[in-house]
Every structure is written in C-alpha cells, then in structure tokens.
Symmetry: C2
C-alpha cells in the first residue's frame, strides 16, 4: 500500500459499494451509513469523501458513464458503420454481470433523476455523444430510404434504453433483445444482415 | 357518503397517495407511514388494507396498468393501423401530467422490479398484450419490406419505453420524442407519413 491515500481510488471503492447496494436492494438501500457498512469503513470516512447522498450518487453515476465510454472506445476497431454501431450498443445492453450491474445503477438513477433532474446531466451528455456517433455512422453508410440520421439515431438509442429496461425487469430474454436490436439495425442500414 | 365502506375505493385512494409520493420523491418516500400521512389516514388504516409495502406497490402498479389499458381502449376508434398504433403509443408516453405521473410510477416500479422481478408480472402482461396488438396492426397494414411484425412490435415498444425514460430524465423535449416515434412508425409501416 502506498502511504499517501489515493482519494480518487477511495471514492471509487465507495462508489463500487454503492453500486452493489443499488443492484441488490435498489436505491432505497443506498445511504451514507449503508455504503460505509458495505465498504467496511466508518460512516465518518464516507462523509469525508461525500457530504450527501446526492453527491455520492452523482459521483457513482459519473463513474459508470466513464466506464461505459472507455469500454466502448476500446471496442472500436475499424469496421463497417453497422458493425461499429452494433458493437457500441451491445456495450450498453445488460448482457453480462458487469453490464447488468451498470444497468441496475443507471435505472435506479434514472428513477431518481425523474424527481431530481439535475443529477442526470452526465447521462444526458453520454446520450448526446452516442446519438451523434450513431448519426455519423448512418451518414457514412448511406442510410436506407426515408431514414433521417438524427431521428434514427435518437430512435435507436431509445430502443436500446427500452430493451435494457425490459431485460432488467425480465420482460424478455437476451436473445430476443439482441434480435430486436438487429432487426432495427437492418431496417436503418438498409437491410445489411447483422452478425449471427 | 355511502355508509358502507367501499374497500376498492379506499385501496385506490391509498394507491393514489402512493403515486403522488413516488412522483414527487421517488420510491424512497413510499412507506406505509408516509402513505398514511399523504392520504390523511392512520398507519393502522393503511395496514388494514396492505400488510406490506410490496403488497401496496403491487396493487398500485395494477391500478396504473388498468388505467392505461382502459384509456387506450377508449381511444380506439376505427382507423388505419398506423393511426391505431400511434394513438395507443401516445397514451403511454409522458406527454401530460397524468401520464407523467404514471410514467414516474412505472419507472420507479421498474427500478424496484429489477431487484424484485416478481412484482412486475402485471407490467409484463400489459407489454405482451401491447406487442401482440402492434404486430396484428402491422400484419393488417402489410408491413414495409423486410419488417418482421413480431420483432418490429417488440422494437417499437422498446423505443417507446426508452423515449419515456428519456423524457422523464429530461434528455429530450416532447416534440423530439414524438418525431422519433413518427419516424419509426413511417419506417415500419412503409413510409406513410404520421399526422402532424
């Protein structure tokens, strides 16, 4: 252990504890006291890093969006636009444990943001970046007839948000969700088949 | 006032109080005690009708889905399939105060259902009915080239769920959301323009 405390790392440890709590019990389980217990530290220590629950939640949400962004950029290998968009969107859907955990947290935050919109500015920014990326790829591919890239990008991202919501509440299985995404991609990109 | 207590009505009054709390403060504000205070009755009275918070939430969610279903059916006047589907989906989007309240509650429930999937069975059933209705309308209209009615219905409903989520967390304005819906409808129904 380095002697100097790494504050960023400490905050991330606490935010990870918050995420585990949100994923297992929902945001109701999230309080400075519960996070302290989950992380195995004192409540005073949590209060040293975060004065309020809102501050802690805003930090954790920023951490989640940073991770999604980094993972998406790492996945970006040169390829046809449809594959790029598909790869990006599969990084968002809750198709493995990491992404399920992230989706739980994002969903809990969105429910919270519906009553406190200010905390969702990080999410809004990530969504705007993603829409721009998708619209650019559609323009590069030459979209199908009658497809407006901006509107289509907005619709596609909404579809993925909705699928994520439905997967988390078990309205669907994963295969159906990916098939619905692929059907939409084929429609927008003019009938190129998605990968198997 | 009738002398005999209408139990159904009592439960609905309590569920309405629950909805107001969920919409203003999120599910964290929802407890038997808070609902009692909001409805202006004793905690004992609430406990007489609902033994647990889960029981109360399940009832309130059923009430919301019943209302959405009834309103949708009341809206169904004979018309071309695209108009029927559009009318139905506009009933779901949070475009006025009633629907914003309902969306808040559904979103809060979905966040809760992600950790307790059993309570979302009513939502799953409403979603399945809606998908079947949309797929039937697509078949009746003769869908655009390459559109599979079942997959397209699933995708369309996911898109609307996602738009609702984005509207509530203020990622969008209402006009953009309706435009994204109309673009998708035009795509699926083969380029008929949506109404203005």
């Amino acid at each position: 252990m380095p002697r100097k405390v790494d504050h960023r790392e400490r905050r991330e440890l606490l935010a990870d504890a918050l995420m585990r709590l949100a994923a297992s019990g929902g945001l109701e389980e999230v309080s400075l006291r519960h996070v302290a217990a989950e992380a195995g530290v004192s409540t005073g220590m949590v209060q040293h890093y975060f004065r309020t629950k809102d501050e802690m939640m805003t930090f954790a949400l920023g951490m989640v969006t940073d991770r999604i962004r980094e993972r998406s950029q790492a996945e970006l290998v040169p390829g046809p636009p449809l594959e790029l968009v598909r790869g990006l969107l599969l990084q968002v859907l809750p198709l493995d444990e990491t992404r399920r955990l992230e989706n739980h947290v994002v969903l809990a935050f969105l429910a919270y943001a519906a009553v406190k919109p200010s905390i969702a500015s990080g999410l809004r920014q990530l969504a705007a970046e993603t829409r721009t990326f998708i619209a650019d790829q559609l323009r590069a591919a030459g979209p199908a007839d009658g497809v407006d890239p901006e509107r289509a990008a907005a619709g596609l991202l909404a579809l993925v948000d909705g699928l994520g919501l439905q997967l988390l509440s078990q309205q669907y299985d994963e295969e159906e969700a990916v098939a619905a995404l692929d059907a939409q991609l084929a429609l927008l990109f003019g009938g190129h088949p998605g990968r198997g």
